[in-house]
């Protein structure tokens, strides 16, 4: 049963000894509602990126010959794989590379078209990806990526973008680590350290499920 953002906020209220009201108010003054929501959203995205348990698939069709720049989806966080489907029937998973490697490995890659071999996402502007060498034929790209979770607004309409099994790690103990690790009257290193370790335990469990090892 997916958790709504208000249920998550109330769980945090219980853990922080605030009066439970679905996250509407935080009367202690140690944290604000917007602050808690930002912790929730950040931890959700960090967990998704680190664990790779939920991935998005985007297909970019209509890529022209010699077109190297691909626009990434607006909810993109990290790229997992890029597969080139050429109109000539070639299907190839592109290897992640960088500009230094391809500039020195294939010096004329920006001029001479060929079957794409690599993708670069480090040296391109935000939300852009480059493939190289330039494709000699048109085609399409299938992108497997980590998508940002649905923004948690606290209005009760949004559910956590993670299974229940990982909800505690990502949406309870992650934000608690941030809350009790914050410098100020609410700082509690013991609770922050424990909460962070529970968050990490969730990541380790996700790694074991996906890869059989941490």
């Amino acid at each position: 049963m997916p958790r709504t953002d208000q249920q998550l906020l109330e769980t945090l209220q219980y853990a922080a000894m605030e009066a439970p009201d679905l996250g509407a108010t935080w009367p202690s003054g140690l944290w604000t509602r917007d602050e808690i929501l930002s912790y929730l959203n950040e931890r959700q995205s960090r967990f998704l990126k680190a664990s790779l348990i939920q991935l998005g698939i985007a297909t970019h069709t209509g890529i022209l010959a010699r077109q190297a720049i691909i626009t990434l989806p607006p909810d993109w966080i990290a790229t997992v794989s890029v597969v080139w489907y050429g109109d000539d029937g070639q299907v190839k998973e592109l290897v992640r590379s960088d500009s230094f490697e391809i500039d020195h490995g294939q010096v004329d890659w920006t001029i001479t078209a060929d079957t794409p071999l690599v993708y670069l996402d480090y040296s391109t502007p935000t939300l852009q990806l480059q493939i190289g060498p330039l494709p000699d034929v048109g085609g399409q790209i299938q992108l497997l990526y980590v998508a940002q979770g649905a923004p948690l607004t606290g209005d009760g309409d949004t559910i956590l973008s993670l299974p229940d099994e990982f909800a505690e790690a990502a949406a309870k103990y992650g934000p608690l680590a941030d809350m009790f690790g914050k410098d100020g009257r609410g700082k509690n290193p013991e609770k922050a350290g424990y909460a962070q370790s529970r968050y990490q335990l969730g990541l380790d469990a996700a790694a074991i499920i996906l890869r059989g090892r941490t």
Binding site: I53, V80, P163, E190, S197, I209
Partner: protein, 240 residues
Amino acid sequence: MAYTQYTLADLEARLAARYESVPFWTQPEARQAINEALCTWNMLTGRWVTRAVMATTPNEYEYVTPAPISYRTRVLWNNRPLSASSREDFNNGRPNWRQETTGSGGAVPTRPMLWAPVSLELIYIWPADLLGHNSLTIDGIMATPQLTVAGDFVDLGEDDLSVLLGFCLHVLTFKKGSVWFQATLPYFTAFLRAAAAENQLITTSQIYRVYMGIDRRDLKPIRGITTPPAMAGLIPGEEG
């Protein structure tokens, strides 16, 4: 004791029997703690399993596991098990694997032989089923039973119930912290130990090793790194 179906009311009564006087938590908190214990137990051990059957699609190598499977553990094609692999092994072993089907001939098998987990819900099979419409059976872990009303029930053994209730007490004392929380750490380690007995892969987790007190960084000093002070007081016998 054989597996029994415990209702939420049973679990709450069992939890109440483990403390005296007036607790510093409310009934909604206790219910949340029970559900957190169930979710964490399922995450670490994959206790609640289920099976789903779907049809293969012609020339398709990519499949999304259907609900109610939370994550998959075993895949069968026409009741014949596929061996587990990985996307990296597919790419390194057969660079053109995406284009290969059961009708490709040559060294490509005539039935799917391997499957690779990509995410919790996405798997690849190799080679792709050329004709499709065959059965693809997915064994996996179902979503954790969440108990919201008194009559909701969950399958549990008596031995599991003991560690789960101890874990609930540990979760409930977090908000109080200090000596009350530290006093419940043995319940948490017992929970982890029981989970590790069900799923030994957990013992490879660094966090597990820290909690169990077997993370002896003092025996292998690396650039003066020591156990973080925040963790120091949590490990019996460890000094900061």
